[in-house]
Amino acid sequence: MTVNTKISLKGQSGSLAEVSNQLDVLEKAGSPSFSSRLKDIGLYPLKPTQIDVFQVNLGKMCNQVCKHCHVDAGPDRKEIMTRETMQLCLKALDNSNIRTVDLTGGAPEMNPNFRWFVEELSKRNKHVIVRCNLTIILANSSYHDLPEFYKAHNVEVVSSLPHFSARRTDSQRGDGVFEKSIRALQMLNAVGYGMEKTSLKLNLVFNPSGAFLPGDQKQLENEFKRRLKNDHDIEFNELYAITNLPISRFLDYLVNTGNYEEYMQKLVDAFNPSAAAGVMCRNTISIGWDGYLFDCDFNQMLDLKLENGAPRHIADFDESKLESRDIILNNHCYGCTAGAGSSCGGSTV
């Protein structure tokens, strides 16, 4: 165990809480660099296709302290998006054709302006995705009605459940998380989420709970569906298999358990050119809690801001300029191109 289960790496003053130290470790990942691999297949510089997804990180505050968290989120993190920055996001959306808004965190629901923001997005007929950690629904009574709130605004709920066993889930997300997650899923099912006859989408995320890569997404989905139905009478729509990227707390775990070199080698060996062509940063723009713009949530956590004349802040949002930007790359990007590929929507190949 490398991470105190109560506070973030930053709260513990862990050396890998510092972005510069993470980048140093990634640089030592060996050859070839991710950029050179893209050069080999004619994808460098990596350019966007078009922006389909507007992903907003509402803050690093969270009720959980998961060991693999790339955000280094936790109850001790106070960085959250203000309503003023949310208004800038709405203004940007009003001047664009982007349909999908993906809200993440931390626990996005802990932002006091979360519901207001969802309501505003809903008025604009946006397809809203909320990355809900499930346990927040049970955290206190003010959150118990979240399933009804999501339903009222036809929010798509995407939730992490790394395994259908309590041991595998709790080892990654904290003691007791599995049991609460199951109760929250049952509450979501009760209002219609994940049920065959409704349009309310409930998708689960499988993250490996250790230094290994995810297996085939469809096979995992079949097994999750069978076990969750048989054991807990739970239904859901799709399972997204997502590779853990070697940054932040997962990087800390890899380094402290002596798994870093081997894990990076696995990612490098599994590089898939088809997955590289379909990486999510090509159709996504990521907005940080303070309004800065990034290619993805991972680059956001490594503070790799947009460069070379691209707009850097949501106040300067310009869709056409963003669609011609150069995407910022580093060796953590190997996590999105390994095997069947990985994105916030699961496999890409």
């Binding site: 395994h163 259908f164 066993s165 595998r168 250790g210 085939d216 096979q219 079949n222 097994e223 999750f224």
Partner: protein
């Protein structure tokens, strides 16, 4: 020379067995690849069988490899240990069933 008979890094050199006999090596790896594809059994079930057999044949390389593969395919510790118990039950059962041979011989030799 290696100081131990088993070196974990040798697992990555498994493919090198083709160097001395490419034709048979290729046939073996083609067959191996086909066996572990999804079929009437899922890849997770095959990984668990492989894990159990790895213990039965006491191959440390195979144990490392199929522990990782079982986790990747979504198996958990409980399933993995149960699979090993299946191998253990067959190994011990195979030993014990020979007790019948002993009993037959006792019958033959004694009054």
């Amino acid at each position: 020379m290696s100081k131990t008979y088993y070196d974990p890094s040798d697992l990555k050199k498994f493919g090198d067995i083709s160097n001395f006999q490419p034709e048979l090596g290729k046939k073996f790896f083609d067959y191996y690849g086909e066996v572990f594809k999804e079929g009437a059994l899922t890849q997770r079930e095959k990984a668990l069988i492989a894990l159990a057999v790895s213990h039965a044949v006491q191959c440390p390389y195979c144990i490392d490899a199929y522990t990782s593969t079982s986790l990747e395919k979504g198996a958990d510790e409980e399933q993995m240990m149960e699979a090993i118990h299946v191998a253990a039950a067959i190994k011990s059962g195979a030993l014990l069933v020979h007790g019948v041979q002993m009993m037959n011989k006792v019958e033959e030799l004694t009054m």
